[in-house]
Structures are given as structure tokens and as C-alpha cells.
Amino acid sequence: ENNEHYQRRIHFQNSLKRQAFLNSALKRSDQSARYGINQFSDLSPQQFKERYLTARTETAPKFDPSRTGIQVKMN
């Protein structure tokens, strides 16, 4: 069970189940997001998170057009 190839196959099987769930959203249309096999399908969600979801956030102030120097044009 520690075999890496075996683990990847398990992750891949789990990916297929997860993708089926994600594709089952209500009110699907031609424009709806599609989920399926890609280069990350043999990673577990935890591995994917650790490798690729590495951005840190800092709390940003709420945007107030009257207080910032940014020009805003509204139609």
C-alpha cells in the first residue's frame, strides 16, 4: 500500500468520483464549467493543495472610490 504507483491509481479513481460530483451541478448549460481528467488527476486533494495552492493573503481594506486615487467610470 506504500507503493507510489498504487497510491496514484487510488488518487486517480477518487478524482473520477470527484469530477462526476462536480459535473452534477443543477442548472447546467453549455457555458457551465466542465470537470475531468487533467495533469492533476493522479494527485490527492491534499497533495494538490500543498504543491499549488500556496498563496498567502493579507486582509485588504474595502474599496471606497471616494478615498482612493483610482479612477472609476460607471455607466
Partner: protein, 214 residues
Amino acid sequence: YPPKFDWRDHGIVGPVRNQESCGGCWAFSVVEAIETVSAKDGGKLQQLSVQQVIDCSYENEGCNGGSPVGALDWLAQTKLKLVNEAEYPFKDMAGICQYFPQSHTGVAVRNYSAYDFSGQEEVMMSVLVESGPLVVIVDAISWQDYLGGIIQHHCSSHNANHAVLITGYDTTGEVPYWIVRNSWGTSWGDNGYAYIKIGNDMCGIADNVAAVFL
């Protein structure tokens, strides 16, 4: 502002990059924004060095992660000039910061802004048109399996973890959406791009939004 806008249509967005096994999305998003704003301001579109930011932005953690706003703050304070990608190429791992004299050709950040636009995505569109592409941090958990189409479900707004670049938007169809450039190569998503519904702070796209000024 127009109902549909994309900085790619102005020919000033570079090709989609691939961060490979490096957790440096924070650096990719920032450098890509600087490239386009530099071209928008009259420079030529060139690929700038992501590796320089990964190696030299000491308050971040290289390929182990970092903050786009932290990187912008560091760039604005130090006025460090980002050199061309060819001079300091991407290595898929962090290394020792390579020094270039201030006389060396490069692009420096004058200033930046970072705001929470949740509930104000229409204003965010206007800022994108005026200022250039926007660096945002999203919850990309469900992006592991994304192939294309407009993300409208399965994306929380309370778990931001991945930095990307908004290059445009389209409100002409049934579902208005943001056009998002990712850094996971062209085989991911729609040739490296994702589309996110506008209006519900989907994936937390409006929570942490940064613009660059050169």
C-alpha cells in the same frame, strides 16, 4: 466601461506560463501584471523574470509560497528593476538572489493598490479597464479538475489560496464572467485560462484585488 473587455485583444498579454512544481503563483501573477502594465504604458511587451522575484523577495518563501501583495510592496519599496526572463530564467526552484546594478535595463514598480471589492465587482471592471490586469487570490480547490466553461458553483469565497491574473471580462452573454490567466500551463483549463462568474464573489475573486502602477 465596455460590456466586454480583454487586455489580450490589445496584444499586451504574454503567453500562459507553467509554474511546474514550484509553488510560486504569487510571483507569477505579479510579474505577469507588471509585463502587461509596462506594455500598456508604452513599453514593449516582454517576459520579465519570475525567478528574480522568487529568489529575491526575502519576506516570501520562494517556491513554498508567498503573498502577491507582499511582493508588490517589496518591489515598490526597493524600486528593484525586474530584468528580462532570458537574463534570469525560471528554474522551478528557489535559488540565491542574483544582483543587477540599478543601471541595468528593467521595469520597476512605482506603486500598487490592494482592495477588497466584494459586492463591487462592477467597479472592479472599471478598475481593470483603467489600470490594467488585476492580481487576485482565489480559492482554487476545485480547479484541480477544471477543464473549461464558466465556474458558477463549487467555489467558496472564504479560503483564498491561489494567485492569478484577471485579464478581462465579458458581460454580453447569459452568464457574465471574468477572464482569468493561470500559471499551470496551456494544457490546463481553456488553454491555460479559466472563466469565473461575475457577481457573487465566486471563488473569492473580489476579496483581495491588486493593481500595479509603473
